[in-house]
Every structure is written in C-alpha cells, then in structure tokens.
Symmetry: C2
Subunit: 219 residues, 2 copies
DNA sequence: CGGATCACTGAACGATTGTTTAGTATGCTG
DNA sequence: CAGCATACTAAACAATCGTTCAGTGATCCG
C-alpha cells in the first residue's frame, strides 16, 4: 500500500476521510478495508478517523448517508431534483469520474442492508409511479402485476451497476464500461418494445398453467 | 459464535470443511469469515483446515472449483447434463435447501473474479446459442446485436440471485424467496412476449439518434 | 514387530485489526 | 493574556487474524 494521499488536499479532514472511505469500501469492501488504509489515503493519522466518526462502523454510516444524499441530489445546486435512476444514468455516463461512488453504491445495494433496501425501495416506488402514469398515457402496456413489473424494470436498470465486471469480461475485455452501457441501449429498447418472443405461445402456456393451480399464495 | 458443528458428521473432514466454508463465505463473505470459524463449524481444529487446503486462499479455490462442478452437474448421477441456468432454476425452487450454494454463487458472480467471469461467460454462451436456435425456429425474434441480447437475458436470469435480499424487502417482507420467484414469472413473460412499451416510438427515436451519430465504436 | 505415513490437535508465532490514551499544537473566547 | 475547546498525532492497547510447529494416535506396509 505505497500509494497514499489519494484524496486532494483542499478539503476538510472529515471530508477527505469520507471520500477515501467510499473509494476503498467500494473497491475492496468494508471488511477488506482497514482504518489505517483509509487514514493513509486521506493523509491523516488512524486516530483522527475515529476522532471524527467514533468507530469504523460510524464511518460506514456516515458514508451511507452521504451516498444517499448524493444519489438523491440533495447537494451542489439544490435546483435539480434527482433520484436513483437519474443519478445512476449520470454516473454511468462517466464511469471513470464516478467510479468510487458507483462501486460503493453497487456494494451497498447487493449487500441488502438497511441503506441498500431503502435505496432500492425508493427506486421501485419511482419506477412504479412512472410506469403507472405512462400506462395511463398509453405509452406503456398495462401489467397484470404493476408492482412486480416495476421491481423487475428497476432490477434491469441496476444490472449494469452490479454486474459491470462480469458483463465487460464476457463481451471482449473492453474495460471501458461507458461503451458497454451504450451497446446495451438498443437491444434493451428492442426487448422493451417488441419483447423477446415472436408470439405469445410461451406466455399463454404459463398463464394456462397458473390457471390450473390457482392456489399460489396459500401454502 | 456459540453454534458450531453445523455440518453433519458422516462426511470426511475435508468435505465438512469445504461445506462449512461455502456456507460461511456465502453468508458473510471471504474477508468476513475466519479460518477458526470455518473449523468450528466443521467440528475440526483450525490447523486441520490448513493441513488439507494449504491456506485460506487455497480453501477458497477448492470451494470455487467445487461450486463450478456442482453448477455444471459433474456430480451425483453423471446422467443428466446441467448448466448454470438449469442448476439455478433447481436451486431457486428450494432456496432453503440450497441457501449456502446460492449465496456463495451470488457472491462469486458479483465479485467479478476469475470463477465468476467464467461462470457468467458460460451462461452467456449457452443463452446465445439457445436464442440463435430459437430464432431460427421462429420462436424468438431476431436481434440487432445477438451477443448483447444474450448477455442481457443472462443478466436478467441472475437478478433473483444477486438482488434477492433487496427484492424481497421491497415487496413486503415475505422472506420466502421461492414465492418471490413464482411471482416474477408472469410479469417477466409478459415483458418477454409483448415488451414494455405500447408502440415503437421510443425505439424509433433511439434508432434515429444512433443513425445520426454512427461513429460509436471509434474514439 | 518396526517404521513410516497420515489425519489431527494444542499451543504458539508474528502480523494486523479496531480502538484507546496521553499528549501537542492551534485557534477562538472571555 | 489566560483558559479552554478543538484538531490532530504517536504510541500503545487487547483482540483476532492466518499460519507454523511439535507432537500424538492411528493405520498400513513390509
């Protein structure tokens, strides 16, 4: 770990510590990152980290609420209203710049903890209301289970975030993930416009099968 | 960590160690699991773990190749040919039973390491050839980018695996993830049959926009 | 029977972990 | 200027980490 002071100088010490923590937690995970490594990356002593954040867990919570504020756009100019979807779109368009936040966000969501669940639930809520209004406008087809459809569409949006590494490696090692996102756009829109199947035989068969066993939710 | 010997007795010590490692690595991650915890769960001494597997990293590699064999179905009766898709379907139908393997597999894939990349690449290959034959048979619509479409469909299949926790929590805490999978089936088939959009205006707009800037791959 | 190999354990090793403590420097407030 | 809170560090703390070592039984082979 020869590289230190990887966070610029013109920030307060707590801010440098927080930025370094997000970068290292995102890159190596919480357990794989030591307080000493964070302190070195922020250019401070290990004791100062705990002086400002109480404990390593307290630092994680500070990073969580910071990333939530960053995702929801409660920073910078408070002019624009943001949410997870729009922020992710912005970040994925410049992965090199937002790499720390992207990695931290991905880990938070797949982790399934309180923060990840809150962010995902928010994304599903937004997706559901968006789909509802677009369905009313005739843009989107009605669904037999709007909540689950919203959840599915939401997860599809998270795919480039949480599966970026394996995706890139399975499509020739471009490594440039913004090009990957761009290449995903057209096939995704094709799928969302015409579906995958040429006709409705598979769906009809599944519908008939579910009609045959209607007691689905009661064990 | 009072609970130990969580792996049955009637297995060889290396097998018990490996099973305990898969369960703990899957539940808490590699860094979050100590050799001592694995040894306790397997009912052996910590030294025996390293005696059989050389190091903690060696144990991980053994778990990786074990899970690969398990996924590819190179075990039990060698009669049936399996792959990632069919194995995942079988495991997700009985999540309680296959919880350790499911969690370990999910972590391996999102980790993006060698094993995860190999498994995912295999899944994309299988999906691509399946889609190709079904396209030729008129079941599946042709795609403008078959490889990427296969990758997208593959990632959609991994969604319940890697996002199970947040998914369950955003749809009322059932916790029973097999019911979650069942509820996902119909909306997914609706999406794959009719698409999400009512008409092709969004796709047409995107296609026109990409025609306007055709120099996509050359930086 | 004798020797060797093997599975296995208890105890310890040094390194690293998160955290605490004592202390220094700085800058604000009265 | 005195007093005090704050930012910050060096050093050490106990605990845990992965790993090593010496040694014990048991099994097997000749």
């Amino acid at each position: 770990m020869l590289i230190m002071r990887s966070v610029p100088e013109d920030l307060t010490a707590p801010a440098r510590i927080r930025d370094a923590a997000i970068a290292l937690f995102g890159a190596q995970g919480y357990d794989g990152t030591s307080v000493r490594a964070i302190a070195a990356a922020a250019g401070v002593s290990p004791a100062l980290v705990l002086h400002h954040f109480g404990s390593k867990e307290g630092l994680r919570e500070a990073c969580d609420s910071w990333i939530i504020d960053e995702v929801m756009g409660r920073k910078e100019g408070l002019t624009t209203e943001h949410d997870l979807a729009s922020t992710m779109q912005e970040w994925l368009a410049d992965t090199e710049r937002f790499r720390p936040s992207l990695d931290y966000l991905a880990r938070t969501i797949v982790d399934g903890g309180e923060t990840g669940a809150r962010l995902f639930a928010h994304l599903v809520d937004r997706t559901e209301s968006m789909l509802a209004s677009q369905t009313e406008a005739g843009i989107v087809r009605p669904s037999s289970d709007p909540r689950m459809t919203a959840a599915i569409v939401a997860t599809h949006g998270l795919v480039p975030l949480v599966l970026e590494r394996v995706l890139a490696r399975s499509l020739g090692d471009t490594g440039l993930s913004s090009a990957l996102i761009a290449r995903m756009t057209l096939p995704t829109l094709e799928l969302y416009t015409h579906g995958l199947y040429a006709d409705s035989t598979v769906l009809d068969a599944a519908t008939a099968a579910l009609k045959g066993t209607p007691s689905e939710g009661a064990p």
